[in-house]
């Protein structure tokens, strides 16, 4: 089993946090995992992305060049990463911000208006967890529980107050309510 995900969006959309939760959840389930976020000047341009590799075997390169899944939070990222997707891959797309969604029979496209949903929950910033919830539901690569556990261990100190809303968002994304 080997899953390679690219998550991508603007700086400010919590892309790196989403990656951490994703990777942490895999770890919690005892899987091998690497998460390689973009960094430095690349982020100055206002984009953020990262690659997560999850496997039950030792992982070689942490760089994802042929992702099996994408979590796409904005338009630009769609343009950049969609062409890299593997055949039969899955795309979770934040349909609040991504308008041009390609049609293809070869890949599975899950649209979720994450930003809108997040606004409803009261904080635009949790769009990332909504998308992640959708991803978990879709791929079933690990349990929602592990993700919630990860949330709790990653949001510490002054960020503890954010656990609730993030948890809600995760659950919303993973639910069938949309």
């Amino acid at each position: 089993m080997r899953e390679e995900v690219i998550i991508a969006g603007y700086g400010g959309q919590g892309i790196l946090f989403m990656g951490s939760v994703l990777a942490n959840s895999a770890m919690v389930e005892g899987l091998e995992v690497t998460f390689f976020p973009s960094y430095g000047a690349e982020m100055r341009g206002g984009t953020a992305n990262g690659g997560v590799v999850i496997s039950n075997k030792k992982i070689g390169s942490p760089i994802v060049t042929r992702p099996s899944s994408l979590i796409i939070m904005n338009e630009l990222s769609m343009k950049r990463f969609y062409p890299m997707l593997k055949k039969k891959g899955t795309v979770i797309v934040n349909s609040s911000l991504v308008k041009e969604i390609p049609k293809s029979k070869e890949v599975k496209i899950i649209k979720i208006p994450a930003t809108q949903f997040a606004e409803v929950l009261g904080n635009e910033k949790v769009a990332n967890m909504i998308a992640l919830g959708a991803y978990i539901k879709e791929t079933g690569i690990f349990s929602l529980d592990s993700a919630i556990k990860s949330l709790h261990s990653l949001l510490i100190a002054d960020k503890k107050v954010l656990v609730d809303i993030n948890e809600k968002a995760l659950k919303l994304g993973a639910s069938d309510e949309y």
Binding site: A23, N24, V33, T34, F36, G40, A41, G60, S61
Partner: protein, 353 residues
Amino acid sequence: MIRIMHKILIKGNHAVVEGGIQAGCMAYYGYPITPQNEITAYMAKRMGEEGRVFIQSESEIAAINMVFGSSLTGARTMTSSSSPGISLKQEGISYMAGCELPGVIVNVQRGGPGLGNISGAQGDYFQSTRGGGHGDYRTIVLAPYSVQEMFDFTIKAFDLADKYRIPVILHTDGYLGQMYEPVLVKELKSDRKTKKDWILDGCKDRKPRMIRSLLMDEGELEEHNWKLNKLYDKIKMKEASCQTCFTEDAVVAIVSYGTSARICESAVNILRGKGIKACLIRPTTLWPFPEKTISTIAKKVKNFLVVEMSLGQMVEDVKLAVNGMSRVHFYGSPGGGIPETKVVVKKVKEIIK
């Protein structure tokens, strides 16, 4: 010895900091540079919490010379930087080597030469292993290939530095520094203080000491060089290490370290899957280089493929070890690119054709 262990998902750069903290690093001096900024920033936080010394120095040169200062008092000390900043430390490293001062220098390599880029790279192998500074000296060079090893080897670096009174370089790169992986963090009980009878801390109840590298008397420096050489020979004997797999029946040996070794590990698995008898030799110390292991293997295995994220640097050490017994091929990806698993597989197939 070990107090608690717990598994966390952290960046390689953070693992270096935690390793330092566990190893009893009492002072850290550094100057920001991508892709190792997390080390400096996280050190600022952690050393503050532990009540130890942290300074963001005015430059890399100041940092290495502060390391020099703290080290000579006997304190375990560390600095970190990335390629251009490490170049600036070369004079200081040479001084530490000359004065036999321990210390840990972390190089989270990026693309070069010049400003290059901020991607991970392995272009500083020569600098680390041959001494980018002046004069006849060596530093121990450790090459982790996972976030776990970033943690473990940092601790090992401090231990070796004190054991041999030598600067130790943790030779890593931007990929390892930036990558998150699960790490088993061991909290060490011992404060890992080594007894040191050569330090400067005021001459109470003893004769004054000096720590210096200027040796102007007739033959004095030459003698010192030979003394260092003896130390280096000892380290070569004792500390050369590498990880190998599938060597027993191999017809091709891939030699690779650090990030590129991860790719090669995958490649070897693929090759074995296809019935191709490849093996992997992964040096974990770059100096001393595990030449014995390699030369032993070279007696049986007639083809070597060296894979590096450079134009070819470690390949020289492999050739020196192989000493004409086998053919040595090379596949490099310089400038911050990462080698591709499928290219490694292809190269091996070409070689054995």
